[in-house]
């Protein structure tokens, strides 16, 4: 009906919108609260995709108003996307690397001193 030769048309875009909403909802419904902060910062980085929109409008900009606002949009979007991914990576790096490096040491000390406590949390059951 409204579809034009170029692009998927309004209905196509709305379909994509609705489906993406369900995917977004489903895909994070199992995120543990341990990771809520990285999740917030990770999704933050993803909406930095507005950088592509900023590139497109500045690329075709004419006149001072369009060029200056478009230029500002590119700077802001770059801050969003670069800052978002770097901060998220910094956080997740701490989550991943350290336990692997520390755990064997903790187990070794537990083994060396029998009767010493369990340091791991994997045995959640309190006897």
């Amino acid at each position: 009906m409204i579809a034009t030769a170029a692009g998927p048309g309004l209905m196509g875009l709305i379909t994509v919108f609705v489906l993406a909403a369900f995917v977004g909802y489903e895909v994070i419904s199992k995120v543990p609260s341990v990771l809520h902060t990285p999740l917030m910062s990770g999704t933050n980085a993803i909406h930095g995709i507005i950088i592509v929109g900023a590139m497109l409008v500045l690329g075709e900009a004419h006149g001072a108003a369009q060029v200056s606002l478009g230029f500002l949009a590119v700077i802001l979007a770059t801050l969003n996307v670069v800052g978002g991914f770097v901060v998220t990576d910094r956080m997740l790096e701490m989550f991943k690397a350290k336990p692997a490096a520390r755990k064997p040491a903790a187990e070794a000390s537990a083994a060396a001193a029998p009767g010493a406590s369990e340091t791991g949390g994997s045995n959640g059951a309190a006897s």
Partner: protein, 465 residues
Amino acid sequence: MSRATATDLVYLIAIVGFILALKGLSSPKRARLGNLAGATGMIIAVAWTFSLPEVHSNHRNLLLIIVGMVVGTAIAVPAARLVKMTAMPQMVAIFNGVGGGAAALVAVVSFIALPSKNIAIYKIVEILLGVLIGSVSFAGSAIAFAKLQELMTGRPITYPGQQAINGLVGLGILGLVIATIASPSTPLLLLVMALSLVLGVIFVLPIGGADVPVLISLLNAFTGLAVAASGFAINSTLLIVAGTLVGASGTLLTRMMSQAMGRSLPNILFSAFGSVITATGGEAGDASRPVRSGTPEDIAVLLAYARKVAIVPGYGLAVAQAQHTARELADALMERGVEVYYAIHPVAGRMPGHMNVLLAEANVPYDELKEMEEANPEMSTTDVALVVGANDTVNPAAKNTPGSPIYGMPIINVDETQNIVFMKRSMRPGFAGIDNDLLYDPKTTMLFGDAKDSLTKLVAAVKAA
């Protein structure tokens, strides 16, 4: 393959990267890999966009794009690298805000660039949504940043007629939106933008510091939707999908966070929670009730000869940046054979999940961190609960006092342990302004002072014990 098809295909690959990034976050093991997939998707999308004639045919504009990216990167990388982990919430707020601002600007520029303003209604609605939501997100995030960075008071800011004024601004925007739809023009659109910025500010002012993180999550979802709206405006499936993914996941995350606080989202946003100090739980907790306080040496002995100790960190630990010292204490105790675990409330710290990040920074393996559901069954067999700078998240009023403002909030049941040690700066109530009966409990010992100083003294005393 035509260029348009190739573009769609490349953008589809980027989208898959974004979905993998979100999916990876369901476990700490795969999270970093997922984030890299997301970043790769982003780089692919940006690189391909450079190849489009719209972007590179005008050389001056192409140069400006590159300059803008260099400037943005030069600011963002050091900021993101150097920020302290305790300052993470405001960093996320500011990166979120600029994204919202960019989305609003993209919508504005795409409108100004239209050769004829006589366009289909749906088109102008899309542009308006991008401008409105993006501007609210930008201004709201800026205020949230100022609150968390303590550039302004963290207490809710209220004034007479606040609701009425907010309502009027909302109505004003609605009127302008209708006017813009009726006769689209750039000045009207810019007015919508200006008033939306005002709305963003006044919307956030009455929200208290400890609720701001939930707000940031909501504004994050807003920015996602603004990006999606701008995607509609410029016919970009890529922007629509990525923006909507964030909008939907951000909404769900916001809901999960408000559930963890035991409050509804409208209550968090509109009730100016914490603006008045109430004395609901207990008979106005002041000097009239006896409190037992101990020396670091007393408490060190209590800890050193315990079998099982729970460390319950809270906001105060984050503010004092005492996460490293807390780990030193845990290590010192573990060396003596004491079983130590961290019991983490979902909203401990300055942002949901924030405490986990802080303790991870202090090299605490994430399997020593127990989430509330996992920690609570252990409480009855725990000898000492060491509550460091937490208050509301352990207040039994949430279970026992139906009239209390925090009634219904899930808490860590430290009241079930044998001994409780509270490390606090003073007897002042926590953020919610509610007195905590547990502070006066016979099995409670208070250790007053800055969390970091007190922990340092405890570490020394435990080693000497």
